[in-house]
Symmetry: D2
Subunit: 289 residues, 4 copies
């Protein structure tokens, strides 16, 4: 669904299902001279919840950007008891990347950033090690070494929060960051954190999943990108994929092959996130592709 996306707005909506929602929303946009580019909706019958993503051109739209949400809530939102979020595609999202020692995801993200495959900003990289400082330098990105351990976690996370604030970060990517963020950090930041876990969740949560996969003798290994919640490896899944392995593959082979799955899965999840295609409801991610 790629194409000139400048100057469009996206509404991400969920509410109790009811007759007439699509008609009301599209009528609202139409009457205010908004040209719909994409519209996707979904009804979860079991839970009776309505979900919608609608994107329209801002050029010619009658309502000024800063007034859209107010008018929308007056006209429609309140009466349907909607949870609605407005996103403007013109603004580049700002990501902070957290890494430890492994470089494959970082390199992949940076190459997409510098080649402008992704329209985002990556102003800062934070790590509990110094190993990847040189990569940050290479690409002229600010790097901070914040050596977290069990004794200093509270203090160090405070520093991280300040950095996220200072750099005006919209979302965090944990690119094989080997520390668990505390519930406090997640709540204080209060914006999305995307993690890549190196297994096909819910199989093999926690540490050393490739070793566990090897022990179990699985025939496919996987990776899972998910939004981070306070429960480890249990947040809403954005994207997953797998790769075939055989008895010939050692643990080292699984790790090597897994790296490729991880970086692809993480990249696709970020793509969906920065293009405002994801909507989290309870513990699931609706991905409007």
């Amino acid at each position: 669904m790629e194409k000139e996306k400048n100057h469009t707005a996206v509404l991400l909506i969920h509410c109790p299902d009811k007759r007439g929602i699509v008609a009301s929303v599209t009528d609202f946009l139409h009457k205010n001279n908004g040209n719909i580019i994409h519209l996707d909706q979904h009804v979860d019958k079991d839970n009776n919840v309505f979900f919608m993503r609608v994107e329209w051109e801002l050029g010619g739209f009658n309502i000024p950007v800063q007034e859209i949400m107010k008018y929308f809530q007056y006209s429609i939102g309140t009466s349907y008891n909607m949870h609605a979020e407005l996103r403007l595609t013109e603004k580049k999202m700002r990501a902070a990347i957290f890494v430890s020692k492994l470089s494959h995801c970082l390199y992949d993200l940076l190459s997409r950033f510098v080649s402008e495959e992704w329209k985002i900003e990556i102003p800062v990289i934070i790590s509990n090690h110094t190993v990847l400082e040189s990569v940050a330098k290479l690409y002229g990105i600010d790097f901070y070494h914040v050596p977290v351990d069990t004794s200093n976690k509270l203090l160090q996370e405070q520093k991280e929060l300040e950095l996220l604030k200072k750099y005006d970060i919209d979302f965090v990517v944990l690119a094989r960051y080997m520390q668990v963020l505390s519930g406090d950090l997640i709540k204080s930041f209060a914006k999305p954190v995307i993690n890549i876990h190196h297994s096909f969740l819910p199989a093999f949560p926690g540490a050393k999943p490739y070793h566990s996969a090897f022990e179990r003798g699985v025939k496919l290994i996987g990776a899972t990108a998910h939004y981070v919640t306070t429960e480890l490896d249990a947040g809403p899944i954005i994207e997953q994929d797998v790769a075939r392995v055989t008895h010939k593959h050692s643990v080292q082979d699984l790790i090597r092959k897994g790296k490729d799955v991880e970086k692809m899965v993480l990249a696709r999840a970020i793509w969906h996130h920065v293009n405002h295609m994801t909507l989290v409801y309870k513990n699931k991610t609706i991905v409007f592709t």
Copy 2:
């Protein structure tokens, strides 16, 4: 998107893209008390064409089924220059299966039919050989041997057309039928014909694709389900898939592994077709999944 689908209607629409189409269609349904179950739309920006599939519950809908299209065209269709098709999910579609000697697709289709995985009717099987007559008998389905060859094609296809008419067939499935249907038959039948081709089209059209794939040394083999047009293996693609092969696989292995890909691809294409999820425009198939 499966769930109680009885008593719903589906509109499949395409027209030149314009502002307000979604609002108009959903408003029409809403005002006539139709509860939308699914709505999916797509705009082909390059060709400026709007596509839409909308499904709503007939229970409580104000307009009688036989009047829907008339009212829809009055209210909306004509002004937008729409091509619109109405489908009623209550009615079971009736398929005729054409086969030659290979049984794998036939067995798979019949097992889905008899186990009611598919809500369709298969009243007749037609073949240019008698090899699979016993399979038809096994499942109590009428079987006709229509031995087509170059000398008698015109006459035999006339018989086939009569059978399709007699059995009130909605669509034909060529389940590894090794004859090319004439343009005359396709035009006279004037309803969808779905073919499974045993390669990843447009690679290896025509006869013996597995032999060609073996010769070329490809690392994946594939299958393609498409609507049949007068041009051989060039009709709108509904579904494709592939399977990995290696140097260890002989032509016989490719044929064996290919059978599984063929039957899965054909089954998924038929599923989409009978659930009114496909819309053909020019030489492409929009599949609203």
Copy 3:
């Protein structure tokens, strides 16, 4: 690796790794005028175990079939402390299929059997329900209704064992059989039992995996074929595969899409088993493809 396979023998070997094993085995075959068709070996470096599958033509081989193992153990096996198994491809393996109410795997297996895609015998179908008796009758296969429940398990499994013996069964396929076999049955039968589990193990073991997958919001569903051990869903994995799902899919959709994955995964596992391509070591399956 398909091709005229009649009159070949297969040796499946494992032993502590040591220099010269391949040379010894191939030399033994060569000296006795055996033409090697396939040879595959693997060394598990971590555990220092050597694995091998070698297939050779029996035509012209100097040692009579019934003497091969004796000579082999004298010449080589004993000195390398080998575990070796001889298989003759001429003999068709005899499978018993256990089913409950779901028919998709059964239909798929039977269609491969009757169309001779598989060179096996399926003399008997056993079920704890009578729902699928008609399918057995359709294909002329003996059917036994053995209604197992918690109160009569011991007795009923005794009947099953007698049937397996009576029909001279080489391996059992649990084709979505909804009962757990007791450890006693598994031990008494003492031959391979292949199960298809409807999840990507070790994720979602036990009952209702599609419901769990739906709740967790995974983006891929899977199926796992494994040899049955006394521990539920924990036996050596033979084959696994996955299918992509989205938020649009209900539990019913997962079940429907899962059926296709299950029948393909089970079929590939059986193919490998009946072609003597599998070797179980500890809790893993080496699959020589």
Copy 4:
């Protein structure tokens, strides 16, 4: 099959199939005190050709490296009419990368190189444009701008050949290099050239395959890594893969999604090549995985 690979040797062999080859080769290695790490063989029954890859430890091997081929040919090679190649895994292979303007494959290859995921050398990057010079500089790799066009091709390719010689290059990677190498260059270089083509060959050879794929309405796009021959896009295929696309994807989307397939397929092909797992015979690539 990854693990400590230093100080091993690999023999890649093909010859007319005959009894006793495996026994002879393994006996030769065994008698000279070589410990076999991997052995894989394959017989193409249709063409009666035997293929083999055997890898053994050099530590303790009785024959000095520079004499191995001579002794091997005396003892075995000549009598079986073998084509045999010896590779030493200790030596890092030296690659030259040719690029034009697209950076995704280049970034991916370089990240694997600098992170030592691959044990190779990349001493030089050659381009017909200057766009990616900065990337080369970033990684401290020599860069040469060799602006080839139809008028100067002969002269410029002469320069390229000199560079390949000067840098002692073992193989060339065309990482989305938009020029066709002349038959003269290919013959004069006389070493492997690996190209990544942005389609699932043989579908869509030549220029603009994504546009053609879009026009045809395929449901999967692909990429193909192959050894370059004098015939365009027709060389022996090393690796292929595909990605699913829908009607929602524009040509730009196909290009974006295709980039990920391209870089993964190219990376896997290079991995197989530098680990001496590929053997070209006629127009096919045996990949011993």
